[in-house]
């Protein structure tokens, strides 16, 4: 077995990666304080409980990133010739499944509480020796839980520059955190004003949002595992790299026509290119030079196998008997 080359971030991206790692550690530390504070004030409010579970689930993407990044950077070897990049996807698949199933459970629970007409009791809370209504403490903690929104804004450009899907999902979840906080806050204020049903309704909406997040992430990570055509990290459009490689190959004087087939292995791309040579003179050195030229196009182009062919069409019914 000939393993793939070892993937390195280029020096300028390496600094970005270290920054992302620091940000993720900070995120985890901050989230832990939020989770502890939420636990103290949750009481019997379903909206607070749901927001609390959401804060715990927000730990999943940073953990997936921090655990999988060092694994993904291991050198490909005879046992794992394609390297370890998929570690990120596997970690993330588990996280997305947790998000989806916890969201669904909370959604059912919230709707059940609403139908059972359960009135949430929010009593008193002692702070610095004074008694205040627990609802005010809840609102204070919810405000405190909004800070990761700023972290999300810092992570988003890093996710694009590093072409890192997990980092992108994490940044988006952080950015959406304020919605959860506002939802739970509306639930608490609703209860304070004497509308018991606002709490379970807000909880159902937050739980629906968690479930939807989980569903979207599951879809994305499954698409990654199925080697979907390379997309931008936000999934909005196809990545331009395959087309750029194809254009580059077609611009070579000895190439009549060319096409590519590529996969996004996590951070780096690998794949095959098919070229119709005008003539077969010096074919081997030309192929090697073309592969090196393609790799020089973009830091993510990890390995390209170039195959000389006489037709670019996919063989039909290849193995059918």
């Amino acid at each position: 077995m000939r393993p793939l080359p070892h993937f390195h971030h280029p020096p300028d991206r390496h600094n970005l990666l270290q920054r992302a790692v620091r940000l993720e550690w900070f995120t985890i530390g901050y989230l832990l304080t939020v989770i502890a504070a939420m636990y103290v004030v949750t009481g019997s409010s379903q909206a607070m409980r749901t927001a609390w579970v959401e804060d715990m689930l927000s730990l999943v993407p940073p953990l997936a990133f921090l655990i999988a990044t060092p694994i993904a950077r291991r050198r490909p070897n005879v046992e794992f010739p394609f390297g370890y990049h998929r570690a990120t996807s596997v970690a993330f698949f588990a996280g997305a499944l947790a998000l989806f199933s916890m969201g669904a459970i909370l959604l059912v629970e919230s709707i059940h509480k609403l139908l059972a007409r359960e009135h949430p009791t929010i009593g008193m809370f002692e702070i610095f020796g004074y008694d205040i209504w627990l609802g005010w403490a809840m609102l204070a903690v919810l405000t405190y839980s909004c800070v990761p929104v700023a972290l999300g804004r810092l992570k988003l450009p890093l996710a694009r520059a590093l072409h890192d899907h997990v980092l992108h999902v994490d940044a988006n979840m952080n950015k959406a955190d304020w919605l959860t906080a506002v939802g739970a806050g509306v639930g608490v204020i609703g209860v304070g004003l004497g509308y018991w049903w606002v709490d379970a309704t807000a909880a159902a909406i937050i739980a629906g949002d968690i479930t939807w997040d989980g569903y979207r992430n599951l879809r994305q990570v499954m698409a990654d595992l199925l080697d979907e055509t390379p997309k931008l990290v936000d999934g909005s459009a196809r990545d331009s790299l395959p087309e750029r490689v194809r254009t580059y190959l077609r611009s070579l004087p000895w190439v009549e026509d060319a096409d590519v087939r590529m996969r996004d292995g996590g951070h780096a791309f690998t794949g095959e290119a098919f070229v119709i040579p005008r003539d077969t003179r010096d074919l081997v050195p030309r192929l090697r030079a073309a592969a090196e030229g393609a790799r020089a196009l973009d830091w993510r182009m990890l390995d390209l196998t170039i195959m000389p062919v006489d037709s670019l069409s996919t063989p039909t019914d290849g193995n059918a008997l």
Binding site: H119, T121, I122, G123, I127, G129, Y130, I132, G192
Partner: protein, 165 residues
């Protein structure tokens, strides 16, 4: 301790007065207003010594019974006592047919999550005791807790338990 934190104290006073001004939290079923208007506090009890004793007549005795009587008085309401089993009392609270129930209940009571309870106010024989109120009547619960907090040390002393909060 408090003098070192004038800012926090000011914030708390502001917050509390604002809360009082808007009447937050309010009761979804308007319990507290009904009690002060009808001048009747519907209280349930089940015998559980030393918390609630009963020796015939219309009213129970014991520290929890005295507490409910004092609460009724502070609201200008007469206490209308009903005796029942624990299940009957909690069921009545859940359907808003009682305003408060006593019987030495602790916070691990399986019914506690179905109704509104105060914070634990006394620890006695490794059980943390609460008073039960209707679910989600948060104004009633918070008003009652104010009184409970003031009287908890004396009640703990009466039963020989540890005063909490």
């Amino acid at each position: 301790m408090r003098a070192e934190r004038p800012f926090r104290l000011a914030t708390l006073i502001l917050l509390t007065s604002w809360m009082a001004a808007c009447g937050i939290p309010r009761d979804p079923q308007d319990s507290l207003r009904r009690i002060t208007q009808t001048r009747v506090l519907r209280a349930g009890f089940t015998v559980h010594e030393p918390w609630v004793r009963y020796s015939g007549g219309a009213t129970p005795e014991g520290p929890e019974a005295d507490l409910v009587a004092a609460f009724g008085e502070s609201l200008g309401a007469r206490v209308e006592w009903q005796r029942g089993s624990e299940t009957q009392l909690f069921e009545a609270l859940r359907t808003f047919e009682l305003d408060i129930a006593i019987g030495g209940f602790d916070q691990d009571n399986p019914w506690a999550s179905e109704v509104g309870t105060t914070r634990a106010y006394v620890e006695h024989n490794a059980r943390r005791h609460v008073i039960a109120l209707p679910p989600g009547e948060n104004r009633l619960v918070t008003e009652f807790e104010r009184m409970l907090r003031a009287r908890a040390p004396a009640m703990a002393a009466a039963v020989g338990g540890k005063h909490l909060s």
